[in-house]
């Protein structure tokens, strides 16, 4: 087969575009030229290691594989449908021959009538620009053509759906079911109000849905109609679709979203409620405890032992309630007093946390070892708080031995994992999740002071940063707390 794109008059002919790729015998790409990345919509550095068939229509994949498994000394060629950025599937000729090294193949993708490269055509439909914009967001955004086919998507969409939807019909790759539990929320965007979403079977309508393929996760879909990028005359409507995940839990949203702030309207209301409640509760509580103390002072001589004991219990209760209210305030401030993240030297953060704990370090004679600490992307004051709570914990729940605390960090792919290890009393594995709950305590108050706020704050801070925290421990053999902080593009590998 030597012709592509059917009969065309010679006047329309232009030289074919040849894109070259080297693969192994499985079709895994070893190297490719810049054109490949350009036409197939990925970053050049992400191409190596992917399978050539990932860029091909699924129905044509077995055929492509058969071409690659043909006897090695033979040159083979055929036509498969490649998914061209912004164009959907385009039948394209591939020529495969033995490559430069053993068991490699040189694949030439010969495209006729491929759109010109950006410097030649100036990106008239704005697709490259739009893709560049989409690459900057963590939101789930898709651009659909008039038929509901996915033209572009933000990077996180692929992760969310579990496959790359580009070139497929939206409703096919993301089968959604209307969620009747919810009313469709009216948006107050005037542009949206003037163009009601179609929802005609190929394109979705704004509303709330369930995503059965993913545990019935609830998704809010917001559709904006735009002039379809695939229609140069601008007569057809395409759409820009945003998917918002509904969160079951108010917190922990950032667990999946990579640091997205927990800012849904309801959580803001709760935030305000917690603040107001903890604040307003303080006033009457102050009365209770002050007058109990006054009673104790003035009438101590006239009360018998039991009477004084009763006052003691009441005062103890008031004191504890005060601590709980203070803790609620601290907890709510993780969000309300959060500052924007920036580069933070984790070593300095640990040093500052240790300074805050100076007194406790002195009384417990604790030995602290700090390993290598990188620069990370975080809210500085909150990172200090995390270390402070974790180290404080180690200094509180210690056994008979001198408390020994080891802090270090390890660079992982895309994040940093910190470790705070102690030789304390340890935690029974069945309670490992409970230790992070607000006000949860595993030990008698008389034995170990505290009200169960520290680890809850740690978890809230880490989740706000898009990281995870967990504990590894068994009773009697110390605990190791881990937390991760995702990399920010601006933090270079040290």
């Amino acid at each position: 087969m030597s012709e592509l794109g059917g009969d065309r008059s010679p006047a329309h002919r232009k030289p074919p575009t040849v894109i070259s790729v080297v693969t192994d015998h499985l079709g895994r790409i070893r190297s490719s030229d810049g054109l490949f990345a350009h036409y197939y919509g990925v970053e050049s550095r992400d191409v190596a290691g992917t399978l050539l068939e990932e860029y091909v229509c699924s129905e044509d994949r077995p055929y492509l594989r058969s071409l690659l498994t043909a006897p090695m000394d033979q040159r083979v060629d055929g036509v498969v449908r490649f998914c061209l950025l912004g164009q959907g599937f385009v039948p394209t000729r591939v020529v495969i021959e033995p490559g430069p090294a053993r068991s490699t193949f040189a694949v030439a993708i010969i495209g006729r009538d491929l759109p010109c490269r950006e410097h030649e055509r100036g990106d008239p439909n704005g697709l490259l620009l739009a893709q560049a914009v989409l690459n900057q967001t963590r939101d789930l955004i898709l651009v659909l053509d008039s038929e509901g086919q996915v033209l572009l998507r933000s990077p996180s969409v692929k992760e969310f759906i579990g496959r790359d939807p580009v070139g497929f019909g939206f409703c096919k790759v993301l089968p959604l079911e209307p969620d009747s539990d919810f009313e469709i929320k009216k948006t107050n965007n005037p542009l949206r109000a003037s163009s009601p979403a179609p929802g005609n079977g190929s394109t979705p309508a704004s509303g709330r849905y369930r995503f059965p393929a993913r545990n019935n996760r609830r998704i809010q879909v917001v559709v904006d109609q735009v002039i379809s990028p695939d229609d140069p005359r601008g007569k057809k409507n395409g759409s820009v679709v945003r998917l918002d995940e509904e969160t079951e839990r108010l917190e922990g949203e950032s667990r999946m979203g990579g640091g997205r702030e927990d800012l849904s309207a309801s959580s803001r209301e709760i935030q305000q409620f917690v603040y107001a409640a903890s604040h307003d509760l303080q006033e009457p509580l102050r009365m209770v405890s002050s007058y109990l103390q006054l009673l104790e002072r003035r009438y101590a001589g006239r009360l018998d032992k039991e009477g004084l004991e009763f006052i003691g219990f009441a005062l103890d209760g008031a004191k504890r309630m005060q601590e709980l209210i203070d803790a609620l305030l601290v907890y709510s401030r993780v969000v309300s007093r959060a500052r924007p993240s920036g580069p933070v030297d984790a070593r300095m953060a640990v040093a500052e946390a240790l300074e805050h704990l100076e007194q406790k370090l002195a009384t417990t004679h604790a030995e602290i070892t700090v390993g290598s600490m990188p620069i990370v992307w975080a809210d500085r004051a909150q990172l200090v708080q995390v270390f402070e709570h974790l180290i404080d914990n180690a200094l509180t729940y210690y056994s008979d031995a001198v408390p020994r605390v080891m802090i270090d960090a390890e660079r992982l792919n895309g994040s940093t994992r910190f470790r705070v290890q102690d030789n304390g009393i340890g935690i029974d594995p069945q309670f490992h999740n409970r230790v992070f709950e607000l006000f949860s305590r595993l030990n008698a108050r008389e034995k170990y002071p505290g009200i169960g706020i520290g680890l809850a704050v740690v978890q809230r801070i880490i989740e706000r940063h898009g990281g995870l925290c967990w504990v590894e421990s068994s009773e009697g053999s110390g605990s190791t707390f881990f937390f991760t902080l995702p990399d920010h593009p601006m933090v270079e590998d040290a």
Binding site: H279, Q282, E283, S290, L294, R297
Partner: protein, 152 residues
């Protein structure tokens, strides 16, 4: 004590709607062994009419110091503060804001309205006594008040 005349005791105007708090101030002063003339206004409107000697407060004496709660009925403490500080007759009376609010906004806006001190009400009785002792000590011994009270 250095005093240009009038009563031997420093005269406080306590603007506070909560009877429990009013009593607590009196008790804490007493337990701390301090003496003061305390006038009480139970809301913002009453506080201003007291300061301006309007009926039924025409015989009121001018306080040396105002202790002002922020959350008050009728006219709240923020309004009272800004009226005092924009009134040429009253603006030289020091105002100590005494409130449960620890909100940064309240602290900032109070000082922007020229509050002389901002104090968060302590939780325990001992701290309360200590706080009032501190106020007395500072305003009557260390600082010098426009009314003539004050130390060296």
């Amino acid at each position: 004590m250095n005093r240009m005349g009038g009563s031997d005791y420093v005269h406080l105007l306590l603007v506070e709607d909560n009877a429990g708090d009013v009593r607590l101030v009196r008790e804490a002063l007493r337990l701390g062994g301090h003496h003061a003339d305390i006038s009480v206004a139970r809301d913002g409107v009453e506080a201003l009419s007291f300061l301006r000697r309007q009926e039924p407060h025409s015989k009121a004496t001018r306080p040396d110091l105002v202790l002002l709660d922020l959350n008050l009925p009728r006219k709240n403490g923020r309004e009272v503060l800004s009226e005092i500080k924009t009134d040429a007759e009253l603006c030289d009376i020091p105002v100590v804001v005494l409130t449960t609010s620890s909100s940064t906004e309240d602290i900032l806006s109070s000082y922007r309205c020229h509050a002389n001190t901002y104090i968060i009400k302590p939780v325990t009785l001992d701290q309360y006594i200590e706080m009032l002792r501190g106020i007395q000590e500072y305003w009557t011994r260390i600082a010098r008040l426009p009314s003539g009270w004050g130390g060296a």
